[in-house]
Symmetry: C2
Subunit: 378 residues, 2 copies
């Protein structure tokens, strides 16, 4: 089978996470992604744990399917090699702080002169414009600024960071979407362009109901915990061994639920007679349910509730996720052969295309592994 | 200026969040998105709060720029109208439970017969294949199953849900990326195809370091709180009025930081002499810093730390975000004119394209607002 981005050449200046996540998606879709790494040093994330035999599994997971070429961007000869590469490229992706590429003489203005059809994508903390444009950004900084921390956590308690670097990742996915949109436009018009995505913009765009609530009421919502703001019980419960979430979305399910868990007396309790009452008395109800659910394990509850078609799920830890039958069936954990480590496991490709599938089959490159292929041309 | 998806027609069967988020992005990029809504009823999210004068701001925020046509998919005449629309369409997007479109006689197999170049995108809880395929999915269920809850929250405390419906949203963005990839391929080959994205797959793909850590050690990481696992201080601190995050990423910044906050004695404390020591004694250090930071407001600390170029940010609430100068400069909050409500504010478009910009200028449609335009054809 062919891949959608076969024949598309991407010069990849990105480091660490947001940019590399973008170019990983493009590589999985079939693009030739050539990672430009600092001679003798490489991407900072080569030095980020976790390590197995001095190899960063972190670097490996987000740089599979790419090629690595070492260049010193302050060396005039290397810069000429780079410009030759850009001449033949379709896309450049970079995630430096705005101004860095320009200082090196390889900003959008310069590169489009040597390749007018080039698509040049920048993924930065705050974007190429605006008062924060030149500020340093880390995922933590952007999560704080974006408001996501203020709505995550237990009600009345401290703001809480999301446990993965989603500010980086969402910006990376949006950058890939920007590149594909620009490639589509170029295919029709032969016109290149610049794509400018910021972590902060990306994060603001996903605030969803919290923004709508603010615009409707003028009040900032606080952390919402694990409960649904308007449906009850639609929350996480403690079990004998772990946790469980249940989604009892209507009155009929509530009837079934109370019978299923052996608490028919709750159906006669007027504090819980309808969804409005249950939401108003959610703390009392949650306390009763947490007590009740401690009597069995998550697995026992799952069997009991699933038999009655009540939407529920275990709160999986990472080991559970990796071994989940659906995750396996969808090949969301892939194995690739690493030259030093043997078989290693990395996340799969979440976009399933029937005719041009994403493929995850090559490990991340060693530093400079493809120097010969691109540097010997001169 | 032109838009990249001008002339692209999308038949949109999606409801509530994941699917509508995808088609919103396509509409913002210029596609003609025709939302098929149940006659007299419409998308469920028209009935989800927050409301202003009976209009759901939630519905409005994710359905701007779209058109609405009412159809009863169980009525044979309406089904014929629909098929006529599909004949002229480029893309179909749906987020029903797998099997629903097939039961209605408008699954991928059927629709590609009447339009072989069609791109048919499905966005579901668990995907079109695998043992969970037909299970009901809600954001809470997928957050639990995906492992994100197990790594979000304070260390040693309960798993915590992310405060926005990110399982839905990330799946929606991936679906848009799948559609663009398929459109690019079709532009080159005239071949249509099916795009299959699931909320669970999408979420597994963003677990990032947590997956790498599990594969390296065989142990599931727990909730990581607001601290960086390997850098200190790189965390949230309490101030006199609110909270603040600081990112003190190296020894030089640590020296500057201690001087800036008036605690030079910390530099002589061997518990904190280097990053490794600070990480090992992070609780002691965080307690000292939280005490110290209570002496001034977040704003006062921001001024003091920014003057010394120490990366930091306030933990914004939603009101702060909406009024943030960078968010404003990037037009991440847009105003559209709503026929009943007047000017309303909704999130902006995070992908900034220089030649074919995303545009957010039309409000969400009223139910059936564009019936005449599409139904009178027959």
């Amino acid at each position: 089978m062919s891949q959608a981005l076969e024949g598309i050449k991407v010069i990849d200046f990105t480091r660490v996470l947001a940019g590399p996540f973008c170019t990983m998606l493009l590589a999985d879709l079939g693009a030739e992604v050539i990672k430009i790494e600092r001679t003798g040093v490489g991407d900072d994330s080569r030095y980020f744990g976790p390590f197995v035999e001095d190899e960063s599994l972190y670097y490996n997971s987000i740089n599979r399917n790419k090629r690595s070429v070492e260049l010193n961007l302050k060396d005039s000869q290397d810069l000429e090699i780079l410009k030759d590469m850009v001449r033949e490229a379709d896309v450049v992706v970079e995630n430096f702080r705005p101004g860095t590429m320009e200082k090196l003489g390889i900003g959008y203005e310069e590169l489009q002169k040597i390749n007018p059809q080039l698509i040049y994508a920048s993924c930065s903390g705050f974007g190429q414009t605006g008062p924060y444009s030149h500020k340093p950004a880390y995922d933590l900084i952007v999560q704080a600024l974006s408001g996501i921390m203020s709505i995550t956590g237990q009600p009345g308690e401290k703001p809480t960071k999301v446990g993965s670097s989603i500010a980086d990742i969402i910006a990376g996915i949006y950058t890939a979407l920007g590149v594909m949109t620009a490639l589509f436009h170029r295919e029709k018009t032969e016109e290149g362009q610049m794509v400018d995505v910021s972590m902060l913009d990306a994060h603001v765009s996903i605030l969803e109901n919290a923004l709508a609530r603010y615009f409707a009421t003028g009040e900032s919502p606080g952390p919402i915990g694990n409960r649904h703001p308007a449906i009850m019980p639609f929350t996480m419960l403690d079990t004998k061994d772990k946790y469980l979430v249940v989604a009892v979305g209507n009155q009929k399910l509530w009837d079934t639920f109370c019978e299923a868990i052996g608490r028919p007396e709750l159906l006669k309790d007027e504090r819980f007679e309808d969804n409005r009452a249950r939401t108003e008395n959610s703390e009392a109800l949650e306390a009763i349910l947490n007590e009740a659910f401690k009597e069995k394990t998550t697995k026992e509850w799952m069997e009991l509730l699933e038999a009655k078609s009540i939407p529920c799920a275990p709160v999986n830890n990472i080991e559970d996720v990796v071994n989940d039958p659906q995750v396996k069936a969808r090949r969301m954990i892939e194995e690739v052969e690493h030259p030093l480590l043997g078989k290693i496991q990395i996340p799969g490709m979440p976009i399933k295309l029937s005719k041009t599938p994403g493929i995850v089959d090559k490990p991340a490159p060693s530093l400079g592994q493809h120097n010969d292929l691109y540097k010997r041309k001169r």
